[in-house]
């Protein structure tokens, strides 16, 4: 049930000046008040860290919430820092400094994080006094905030080498990016939940008939897990070790409103069953796919192909590890603490259900536990209902100013341009998957100028309509001539009905470094004026995204 009637009354105002974009991939639903309090500062810190490490022209990313929906905006770096950033970007690309980050992650940050999670986890909130619980809530909150920043800090190292690989191979062949991402398969066991603990668990279960019987019994999953834990010897220890590692990971999403694994025993049991049933040895398949694609790359680029693929594979597992070992775990621990608080506060008749405490802000949680003061039971219940029933379709894709045009890569030092392109492509492909939930219209044409750009389409019949173009628009027109040049500095991308790769539109799009798709035949017939489109100049595709 959606409260579609009241949704119509919601006004979405930009949270601050600038261009704000929704992130429906990571935040598909409204977030809790607690999350809205904690996330922005940690997010800004972590994104600022990776931008500085990689010498990006971004200062940081700001996040803000409008009616619970997450929006983000880029804060550019200060002008006076740009030269230092250029230098750093060159250093990064030449020295492959993501390897440094990867090493840091493996040798220090991940093990320390696991220890920190386990330290917080080892406290049983049920035995704490009210005052101690409030202190523990604070400890969990601080830990969560630090872990959110940590997750973001490693974003670029997960993304840049992959994006760099996609960018180069996209230039050399016409293999679609989705297929290229498949070459990373087999290098990220943690996506499937695998770890040393799981390996140990599989070995133990394979050796223990009684354990295997339990697993296959089809009994109540919570019961199955309890009994597995209670087994003697290696099996029981292995099960406990595994559950300790994954038990408090959120199964989906990032907010404390999401359940953690231990609360869904059937999911856990299924994961163990699959792992024990047989590891999917995709190694051989992947190597064949690599050889096939390598064969499509022109000979003079093959050595570079190998190098780029190597770097991408090295860092690909960071994509999942950086979440799972950071805030996905810390959020589960916070939830656990809040649920204990909720249990007590509900028992005292102050709220209707323990889970409603999830919708209190942090200070409200603490005061309700400490002395019972804070929002009423009905108020919290109403918040929970609103948050879970608000229709995401009501939230506009963007707020505030029109999107800034993509930076002019042709004026940048080559390593900086390469870094920007790698980041853009990777983020577009790795995190664009949720677009499937919208009605998609994909138009195909010739991939005239590389890059991906999203913005409002502007149908222009000729020079008399030029005044309708606003900075950041995607020009959609039959064909272009010199007369259209006056618009070029304003455009984010070019789409035409006719024309080839050597036509005026294709050449100026490449010249200006903006994505271009020409020869679509019917762009002006199929794309509505003002609708948001994504122009993929590498794939030669134009997609209506709303």
């Amino acid at each position: 049930m959606t409260n579609a009637d009241t949704v119509a009354e919601l006004r979405f105002e930009p949270p601050a000046p600038g261009y704000w974009e929704r992130d429906p991939v990571h935040f598909p639903r409204p977030m809790t008040r607690y999350w809205q309090e904690v996330h922005p500062a940690a997010f800004a810190r972590g994104t600022g860290d990776f931008a500085r490490f990689y010498g990006m022209l971004m200062g940081s990313l700001a996040s803000a919430y409008v009616h619970g929906f997450g929006y983000r905006s880029m804060v550019p770096v200060a002008d006076e820092e740009v030269p230092a950033r250029f230098e750093r970007a060159t250093e990064v690309m030449q020295g492959k400094l993501w390897r440094e980050q990867l090493r840091d992650w493996d040798e220090r940050v991940k093990p320390e994080s696991i220890r920190a999670h386990q330290a917080v986890q080892s406290v049983d909130p049920a035995v704490l006094s009210d005052q101690e619980l409030v202190e523990y809530l604070t400890r969990c909150r601080d830990h969560h905030a630090a872990m959110i920043a940590q997750h973001m800090r490693y974003t670029a190292s997960a993304v840049v080498p992959t994006g760099d690989f996609l960018a180069h191979v996209g230039d050399w062949t016409d293999v679609p990016p989705a297929e290229l991402l498949g070459l990373m398969r087999g290098t990220a066991p943690v996506s499937a939940g695998a770890s040393a603990e799981l390996e140990r668990l599989i070995a133990a279960l394979e050796a223990d008939a009684r354990a295997r019987e339990l697993l296959a019994s089809g009994d109540d999953p919570a019961q199955v897990l309890t009994e597995l834990r209670a087994l003697d010897g290696e099996a029981g220890e292995a099960v406990s070790g595994y559950l300790d590692l994954v038990g408090y990971r959120l199964l989906d999403g990032f907010d404390i409103s999401e359940p953690y694994a231990l609360a869904m025993p059937d999911a856990l049991v299924r994961a163990i069953q699959i792992a024990v049933a047989g590891r999917d040895l995709e190694g051989a398949d992947v190597e064949a796919a690599v050889a096939d694609i390598r064969g499509k790359v022109p000979e003079q680029h093959r050595a570079e192909f190998d190098e780029l693929l190597g770097e991408a594979r090295l860092t690909y597992r960071l994509r999942d590890e950086r979440g799972v070992f950071s805030d996905i775990w810390a959020s589960g621990l916070m939830r656990r603490a809040v649920l204990e608080g909720g249990r007590r506060v509900a028992e005292r008749g102050l709220i209707h259900e323990p889970v409603h405490l999830i919708d209190a802000g942090f200070d409200e949680m603490c005061s309700l536990v400490a002395d019972g003061s804070g929002p009423s039971a009905d108020e919290l219940a109403a918040r929970a209902t609103e948050r879970t029933t608000r229709d995401p379709k009501a939230a506009p894709r963007s707020l505030g100013d029109p999107p800034p045009p993509p930076p002019d890569a042709s004026g940048l030092p080559p390593d900086v341009a390469r870094l920007m392109r790698a980041t853009g492509i990777a983020l577009g492909h790795l995190f664009g998957s949720s677009e499937a939930e919208h009605d998609e219209e994909v138009l195909r044409g010739l991939a005239a100028s590389p890059g991906i750009y999203e913005g409002p389409a502007r149908l222009i019949a000729g020079p008399s309509e030029f005044d309708r173009i606003v900075t950041g628009d995607v020009l959609v027109t039959q064909s272009t001539t010199e007369a259209f040049n006056i618009l070029l500095p304003l455009l984010g991308a070019i789409v035409t009905d006719s024309g080839g790769l050597l036509s005026h539109s294709a050449i100026v799009a490449r010249e200006y470094g903006i994505p271009g798709v020409v020869g679509t035949r019917e762009a002006t017939g199929r794309i509505g004026d003002g609708v948001r489109v994504r122009v993929d100049g590498d794939a030669g595709e134009v997609t209506v995204v709303e």
Partner: protein
Amino acid sequence: MTGAPVDALQRVPLFADLNQREVKQIARLFKQRTFPAGETVVQEGSGGAAFYVIESGEATVFVAGKEYSTLGPGDYFGEIALIDEGARLATITATSELGCYGVTFWDFRPLVESNGVIGWKLLQSLARMYREARAG
């Protein structure tokens, strides 16, 4: 005939404080230009290179997509481009065939730079225009 008619230029506020000889010097720099009806003469947001005085025809001025005013013979536009290389502040479209006289900033600048008097007078005009804009 080369250049623009002197009397057309004398009406331009930017040149209001110049004497006839000085205006003649500037007038010589102008070239005729004709825009077909419907053509965008100047695009809001894009870099500006030339200043135009209209001799014949009509043009419409749009600011942020909304119609703002119309221009006809004797009117001028784009003068800020002569001083400041920033973006055009409005979009101007020729409603009929538009006959103009135009001068680009790199024809105009050397004259101003070498003639301190003209430069000084232009600065005074700009200051006055600025004060009027702020008051209004």
